[in-house]
Structure formats: C-alpha cells, structure tokens
Symmetry: C2
Subunit: 207 residues, 2 copies
C-alpha cells in the first residue's frame, strides 16, 4: 500500500468526503458510476483507484459505503495523527486553523508562526502563535512534521529552508510562489487562483 500514486491519494480523500455526504443522506451502498458522477470523473477511474486499495464491491449492490470510508481512513489517516504548524497567520492561516478545529480532524495544528508582533504571543482557536525566530525550537519540542505556508510569496523560499532545516517531512505551500525542496521532503503546492481560473475558463467557453 506504500506506493499509491499522488492523484489516487487525492481522489481517495475526495471519495471519502462524498461517501460521508451520501451516508448522511441515508444511502448505504453506491455504484462506481454514481461515485464517478459526483466527482466529475470516469467510472473506470473510480474502479481503478478502488482496486488499488484492494477493495471490491458487488455487482448487484455496488460498494458498501461504511466499509469504504473505514478502509480509506486506514490508508490515509495516521493512528497517532499528524502534528502540523501554520506559518503566516493572515486570513488563510486562520482559515486552516478554524477548519481543522471545527472538523475535529486527526491532523492537528499545534503551533502557528508569524513575525508581526500584533499576532505573536496570542492564541487563536487554541493554537498559539510564536515568533518565526522560534521555529526550530518549537518544531522539535512539539514534534511537528508538516508545515503549511500561507505567508506573502516573497518570503516563501526562506520559510521553506527553515522548515527543512528544522527537520519537517512535508510542506503544503499554499501561496502563488513555486518552491523546490530536497527529495526527502514531500511538497504539495496549491495556488487558490488555479481553481478560480478553471471556473472562469469554463464560464467563458460555455455555449
């Protein structure tokens, strides 16, 4: 189960989200073509992903929704959870903290960092904000292994260097500034404008 492709992991997360939603609607089973429709992808893609995680449904009833949610959880969650830091306590940093706090996720934001004295030494939704100078110390003390970067783009490369030095294993770069990091650090980059540009394109080209 070690070598699932990037995109499969992304879709597993999306499947779980849709499956949970179906469950709250009282559905117990779902066919691959239904799940595909919900995610705007092909049924073949769904079946391929589900096969990769070693699950199979029945022809007559499709997949068992609860079983599949549990299985996906076993694959993408960690029992002990993950300890995360947010760097940059602007609106986006706060949105992440608020989101995970509400959700009660096993992904825990345990510290945040900023350089602005109006933000440091305060606590937001239970998460303390430290001055960025204390990054290495707090990462070690709090056993943090993932950093989410939500700072202004111009400081992103320095922030990433400090995170890598501090021994972090994964970075989510949520800024428009592309990064490069050593191979042993997993980097995921997401630019908010990409989702919006996609909508804009299809709105422009609709008939």
């Amino acid at each position: 189960m070690k070598n699932l492709p990037d995109k499969t992991v992304e879709r597993l997360s999306q499947y779980r989200r849709s499956l949970n939603n179906q469950l709250t609607k009282g559905k117990t089973n779902i066919f691959s073509h239904e799940l595909a429709h919900l995610l705007h992808i092909t049924p073949v893609q769904v079946r391929r992903d589900i096969m990769l995680i070693g699950y199979s449904g029945t022809l007559r009833k499709g997949y068992d929704i609860k079983e599949m949610i549990n299985l996906i959880g076993k694959i993408i969650d960690t029992d002990e959870g993950q300890r995360i830091a947010v760097i940059g306590m602007g609106n986006l940093g706060k949105a992440f903290i608020h989101y995970l706090h509400e959700k009660g996720s096993k992904l825990k934001i345990v510290a945040s960092f900023d350089v602005n004295p109006d933000k440091t030494d305060k606590t937001y939704a239970g998460v303390h904000c430290y001055h960025f100078d204390r990054l290495a110390e707090i990462v070690k003390k709090e056993e943090i292994n993932i950093g989410i970067i939500t700072t202004p783009p111009e400081v992103v490369p320095q922030i990433a260097d400090k995170l890598v030095e501090a021994g972090i294993n994964g970075i989510l770069n949520y800024t428009p500034k592309p990064l490069s990091v050593p191979d042993e650090v997993y980097l995921e980059e997401y630019d908010m404008i990409t989702s919006l540009e996609k909508v804009a394109y299809f709105v422009k080209h609709r008939d």
Copy 2:
C-alpha cells in the same frame, strides 16, 4: 479551443505560474522535461497539453517562455475579465479578496455577501459586503457571473440554489460540503483538507 479537458485547464494555470517564476529568474526558454519536473508530472503530459493548445517548441531550445505565457493567457483569461462574488466573509472569503486584490488579476471580486450584521455594509479591500438577502439584486446590477462559496457547510446547498436562481454561470465551492447544480452551471469543488491529507499520507509512508 473550446473543449480542453478540465485537468488540462488546471495544468495550464499551473504552467503559467511556474513559467512566470522562471521568467523572473532570467530564463527565456524551457524544455518540457524541466516544466514537468517543476510540476511533478511527466514530460509526456506536458507535451500533450501544449500540443492541445497548438503550441510547439524547438528541439534545441524548448519552449519560448514569454510566448507560452501569452498564449496561455489568451486561452484562459477573458479580455473583459470576469465579475465574481464571494459568499461568506470569514477568513477564507477575506483571503480570496486579498489575494486577487494583491495580484491585480482580471478576475475581479466585485461584491461579497454575509448574514452577520458585523460584516454587512462594510467594505473590505475595496469590496463591499451586502446582506445575503440582496444577492439576486446585486448579481444582476453588478453583472456577476461567478460565485465563490466560503460559508459554513450546512448552508451551502441553499446558497448554491440562490446563486443559480440569480443567473450565475460558475460556482467555486470552497467548502467540505459537496454540491450538485444544473448542468449549465460549471461547478468546481475544492476542500482544503484534500491537499493536507495528501501531504499527511506521503509523510506517513516515506522511508
């Protein structure tokens, strides 16, 4: 050029972002395998996308970065831009407004909506916040055709219904609550936790 696949449009946006970054570093040309490496995808994928938009590089020098940025702009931007509303003026809504404001994008957020009297009738980074009751009126008056939903999950379906009724053509649902909308409305859904779960998975499975 009307029928580019969803994922190609998404990657074009990502190519442009990386190409702009290379340009600021003084690079003028780039090979498909270099661009692929920057985006963690295969060179074949890059070449297929670039072929789809009718561009080609030279064997010796690769793609001309400036030409490619311009061409992508012609495809995914609209001359007159797009007029956008944000529904939900929490941290995430503010982050979108701030981001597009800073960027000087052709995608313009021209109005925002909330139900909280502490937020309505105020202006944030030049964007006025109206009470949600005025949605239909303002969408018409401001010629808005895209809505970004950043509200709490439980109200998302009602918000989407109102947006569709008001005549909007595209929705970016930036909440954990999956939606369904009529076929004529383009829907893009993005859940912040997906990016984070991906990082967590690969951090957990690294050796």
